[in-house]
Symmetry: C3
Subunit: 171 residues, 3 copies
């Protein structure tokens, strides 16, 4: 069992450079690296995004799809290698659309992230800085995402808030 | 008349931990504390949020409801005790829905906040970091909220921007 | 040909004090100053905003309208004077509405901004920190704006993120 690793939480808006920054941080470490992708391709726009993400990554990456069982995917990495989770917001959205207990899932995940077994980088979207959404589901998602982000930030060693591709250190 | 107090302005998105952070800052000071709540329960969702907020607060708090007359509620606290105002955005929304002069009300409030009579903590939402809203009222609210936040930040001693429950110092 | 100038990128939400801050920074330098306005008045609300912006500016400003040819407007300033571009987001929106190649235009502009010929201040909106917009055009705009902001921040000497009228230094 390796020593406790280090959790870096990369938070930011859409197109804020979260994924690129986290990937650069991971690939600065020795390979192999594990990329845990939470995206599910529901439509062409999403499929295109996922393909672009994959194409951008260099060799040395093992990619694991975990739209729902993110905890399982993290527990399967046992050799202390660097891991990138991209991203929490999609994972949460997948659970919400499946009508799962998102608070329970969020707690379980945060408990696991509190004990990283290597250098773990977790990417998430900040979605709460616009006008209150019109529809109740969007408000519910916004609340759940904010609570999840707080839980993860609380157990992270480093928290970065991205703006225009640049990190601001929050913790 | 006590000496000039200190105004701390806690700004952030939905579920960014603004209220919890401000409450923790207040309860680190000697009781009694005054909680000035600006929320109005228009529907069940809102009523539930207000009840949750109240339930979370510990003993030692006096709660004052001030959906519109926030200035009056602040002026009524004369003994220099810590005060938490939660939150400016709802107060502004209440005035806008009542078709009041929000610029005038904002100016009057900022003038009062410039002379805190104790350690005052004021919570507000940042709502201007999303896509331009479709409807004109939401745009008008977004503009008014941004202008109010600027006025209060200008007279505050400390300004914090919350991200995932963590404060970034702005001033 | 003057020496390489300095590019300051002022990023922030609606009513975050971006323009006022950038204007104050420019007018702290010796006049004359050039204001490059990218706004187009499509309706009364917009026309009113443009008029307010102009009215607020003091003497000493030369105003140039460049809703599309921002590169040309920047290249026309050859004497090393301070320049304020307000704002990139509207320029991008104008190109997108005209169905132009926004990625190509963004690259061309970023290349030009990488070689400022004086103290240049460029204002832009952060629009990616709310809930995912319902309509595809808004999502496309949000993505293009985020990518443009990243390109400009990458070549800027100083990057500021505005909150409630106050700058946070990002770079």
């Amino acid at each position: 069992m390796p020593e406790r690793g280090r959790l870096t939480f990369v938070l930011g808006g859409a197109r804020s450079g979260k994924s690129s920054h986290a990937e650069a941080r991971v690939t600065a470490l020795p390979a192999p690296w594990t990329y845990i992708a939470t995206a599910q391709a529901f439509d062409d726009e999403m499929a295109e995004r996922i393909a672009l993400h994959r194409a951008r990554r260099e060799a040395g990456w093992e990619t694991v799809d975990a739209p729902l069982d993110l905890a399982g995917a993290l527990e399967a990495v046992t050799d202390g290698r660097p891991v990138l989770v991209d991203c929490l917001t999609l994972w949460l959205s997948n659970h919400m659309l499946a009508d799962h207990d998102v608070e329970g899932e969020s707690r379980r995940l945060a408990d696991l992230l509190a004990r990283p077994r290597g250098p773990w980088f977790v990417v998430s979207n900040e979605v709460g800085l616009g006008i209150v959404p019109d529809n109740a589901l969007a408000r519910r998602f916004r609340d759940a995402a904010g609570r999840l982000n707080q839980k993860v930030a609380a157990v992270a060693d480093d928290v970065l808030f991205m703006a225009a591709g640049l990190p601001m250190r929050v913790k």
